[in-house]
């Protein structure tokens, strides 16, 4: 049943404690005539005689123009947001939602806690990183026009990454209520249209009741797999003005959607195919959405003793598990049955593609291999942005949440596994375990190449960091493009030790999203570490001020290769293709002359800074000092001048 207002429930109903206007006339107790200034003599008069308007103003009773109120729609909005258990609201302050902003501070005593951001892109990216660690959304608020335009890149990343974020944008719907100037520039008929192609849902409520129901609906939609960002437009009049009908308002009741399991018949068929396969393989991307996800996947892999290739969109599978075969992609071409769970780029994972003059592709799978998919990603797609990838033929397509469906699938596999099968599975598992150990040893050997070189190799950088944090309760929440050393060298085994990447490959994600994740880790006492590229850093360096201001501890390693390196490589390839000027491709792709001093930038933002570190011998001591700062509650940046990759 919906919750009706309980007058005695002051904590949830402060917005109802008084509604109404207090007119200016009520504050005026002295008759206007009594305050009139005596007329000066004509000889001493220096000002012009009063005109008719001034005479009227001074002699007539004041109009009933209200100047105070004892309730506001923003109070109710705040109560709705808090009813959803939202802990933080990342904002860049803006007049179009000043009613809500003030209410959060004064009506709800800064709950949800406001996280002050210096750019809307930072605010949404923080929410994205936070949600992937904490398992629930953060709110974000901005100007509905100019702020939302800033926020779009981060919202697209969250959309592609299937991460829930509750975005609010201020607007003034009624034209006659807009002041001259900026309020017209910051208003729109349909402000949500700019983000509609990469949000799951949006609305522009026209009443407070409408706001309550739409906000709860938006939260529910955002957190139902496949998850994604949602947007609510906030009308300024609704936020700022008194509540017209307090007794008629209620907080809508929120009940989370239980994620759907795959059809039982389809699950049984998938189990049969997997058990009867000679070389089954599991590939996955965004399976784990709760701490149970990794355990569920481990249980299935162990039941089958089959390899798992993890595309690492989430913390799906322990890096040192013997069945982790993520660095042995050749297995895809050997498999006779492939189970793909919550895959993002399925076709890309199963295909060899050639980035040449004539772009060709060929299947990376064995002829006749059967493909089973399990997931919800394709249950909600939009048409403009092509993040759904190329069509992939599938033999058995199961619509069901991967994490929720895994226990049933595992149980079905176990039921079909007789002693003979189990023996064969165990033998298979031993081969995978041996290959996994060989991979680790090879990774360590490869890491020794250029060990003492300057610029520092990325392998050494990662090894030095791990040496100092391995005994902490660590969580890696950011990485540079294609930096694989942590997953090759480190022991990832806890659900929060990894939270995936940007989703949309939109640069500017890494620093703020890592800080959002660090904010989530803070209350759990975890040690947060992230690697980020120098190019990414420069999109949102202001995020460090937010980290310093809100005392968010994080060890942030800038992998400083002084370039937008992926683009540098692409440009070399273009020049080589055209047979000209391969030695000039640093133009427009590099960040040098002058070199950027990231440690100084960090200190300027109030964070701790070390670097630039160019000699590998200096890296360990610098990390020690930075880690001490992090343990003291500071964000710390270590600028490591590295080899490209």
């Amino acid at each position: 049943m919906p919750k009706r207002r309980q007058p005695s429930d002051s904590s949830r109903r402060n917005f109802l404690k008084g509604a109404g206007l207090v007119g200016a006339a009520a504050a005026v107790t002295t008759p206007v005539v009594a305050n009139a200034v005596p007329a000066a003599s004509p000889q001493r008069m220096k000002a012009a005689l009063p005109g008719p308007q001034q005479i009227a103003a001074e002699t007539l009773a004041p109009s009933k123009d209200p100047v105070n109120q004892t309730s506001s729609g923003g109070d109710y909005m705040t109560d709705v947001i808090n009813s959803l258990g939202i802990d933080y609201m990342a904002i860049n302050c803006a007049s179009s939602y000043r009613g809500l902003h003030e209410a959060v501070i004064n009506h709800a005593n800064n709950k949800p806690e406001i996280i002050t951001c210096v750019h809307e892109d930072i605010a949404v990216h923080m929410a994205q990183g936070y949600a992937k660690i904490e398992g629930k959304p953060m709110a974000m608020a901005c100007h509905g026009v100019v702020g939302l335009q800033h926020a779009t890149m981060a919202m697209y990343n969250a959309w592609c990454d299937r991460v829930p974020v509750l975005v609010f944008g201020g607007n003034i719907m009624e034209a006659d209520k807009r002041a001259p100037g900026a309020e017209w520039l910051h208003a729109g008929v349909d402000i949500g249209q700019i983000v509609r192609e990469f949000t799951k849902w949006d609305d522009q409520p026209a009443s407070l009741t409408h706001f309550g129901e739409s906000t709860v609906r938006a939260y529910k939609i955002a957190t139902t797999p496949p998850m994604g960002p949602v947007f609510i437009a906030l009308d300024a009049e609704l936020q700022e003005n008194p509540i017209p009908d307090p007794e008629g308002l209620r907080i809508p009741k929120y009940a989370p959607v239980v994620p759907p399991q795959g059809d039982s018949g389809a699950i049984a068929e998938a189990a049969k195919m997997l058990v009867e396969a000679q070389n089954p393989i599991i590939i996955c991307d965004r399976v784990a959405r709760t701490p149970a996800g990794m355990a569920n996947l481990v249980a299935l892999a162990e039941a089958l003793q089959c390899g798992v290739i993890d595309n690492a969109g989430r913390m799906n599978f322990p890096s040192r598990h013997p069945l982790n075969q993520s660095f042995r992609r050749v297995l895809i071409g050997q498999a006779d049955v492939i189970l793909a769970i919550e895959m993002n780029d399925l076709w890309g994972t199963l295909t060899h593609f050639s980035d040449r003059i004539v772009r060709r592709s060929r299947p990376g799978t064995k002829p006749g291999a059967k493909l089973i998919t399990l997931g919800v990603r394709d249950l909600y797609l939009k048409s403009n942005y092509q993040d759904f990838g190329r069509w992939q033929d599938i033999d058995l397509d199961i619509a069901g949440d991967g994490e929720a469906s895994l226990p049933a699938l595992t149980e079905a596999v176990r039921r079909l596994t007789d002693d003979g099968k189990k023996s064969a599975f165990d033998a298979r598992g031993k081969k995978f375990a041996a290959a996994h150990l060989a991979m680790i040893e090879q990774s360590k050997t490869d890491a020794t190449i250029g060990w003492d070189a300057s610029p520092i190799t990325t392998a050494r950088m990662c090894a030095e960091v791990y040496a100092q944090i391995k005994d902490e309760d660590w969580s890696v929440v950011g990485t540079t493009i294609r930096l694989s050393w942590p997953h090759r060298l480190w022991d990832f085994k806890k659900p929060y030790q990894w939270n995936g990447v940007s989703g949309g490959a939109g640069i500017g994600y890494n620093l703020p999203a890592s800080l959002g994740a660090a904010l989530a880790n803070k209350k759990h006492g975890r040690f947060t570490v992230a690697f980020g590229g120098d190019g990414d850093f420069m999109f949102n360096p202001g995020a460090l001020w937010t980290a310093a201001h809100h005392k968010i501890p994080i060890l942030y390693i800038v992998q400083n290769n002084r370039a937008y390196h992926q683009e540098y490589m692409y440009l070399v390839a273009m020049a080589a293709r055209h047979g000209r000027g391969v030695d000039k491709m640093d133009i427009g792709t590099t960040l040098k002359d002058p070199n950027i001093d990231y440690a100084t930038v960090a200190r300027g933002m109030g964070a701790y800074g070390e670097g630039p570190i160019t000699d590998p011998k200096d890296l360990g001591p610098a990390l020690t000092r930075a880690i001490a700062a992090v343990k003291a509650g500071q964000p710390a940046v270590v600028d490591v001048v590295t080899d490209p990759r």
């Binding site: 050639s354 020794t448 190449i449 250029g450 090894a463 391995k470 390196h565 070399v572 080589a576 990759r645």
Partner: protein
Amino acid sequence: MNKVKSIARIVLAAAVFGVSGSAVVMAQDAPAGDAANGKRIYLADGCFTCHGRSGQGGAYNGPAPILAHTALPFDGFAGQVRNPVNDMPAFSDAVLSDKDVADIYAFVESLPGPRSAKDIPILNNN
């Protein structure tokens, strides 16, 4: 140096480029190269962007193989430069002369290869 067009050699190069640089391939004669000039070209012409300054390898669209102390025969190396497999760009003689290729080969061959990880304590943390 003659351009290498042998399919067999290209396949050999592809096989070796697709695995660790520690793979052992029969040594073949290589033209004398100037390693110092090879280093200059390796850094100036973008080889390092995928393969690393130390030849550790890296990533382009896919893994870029280790080149340090390469055991590739020169013909295989040159074949991969001129007619590469996978997504590596082809460097024609318009941008890399045969001498340039030989110098680069001399440079990557001179780079120290892997050493024993057991000698580095922090690589043996777990």
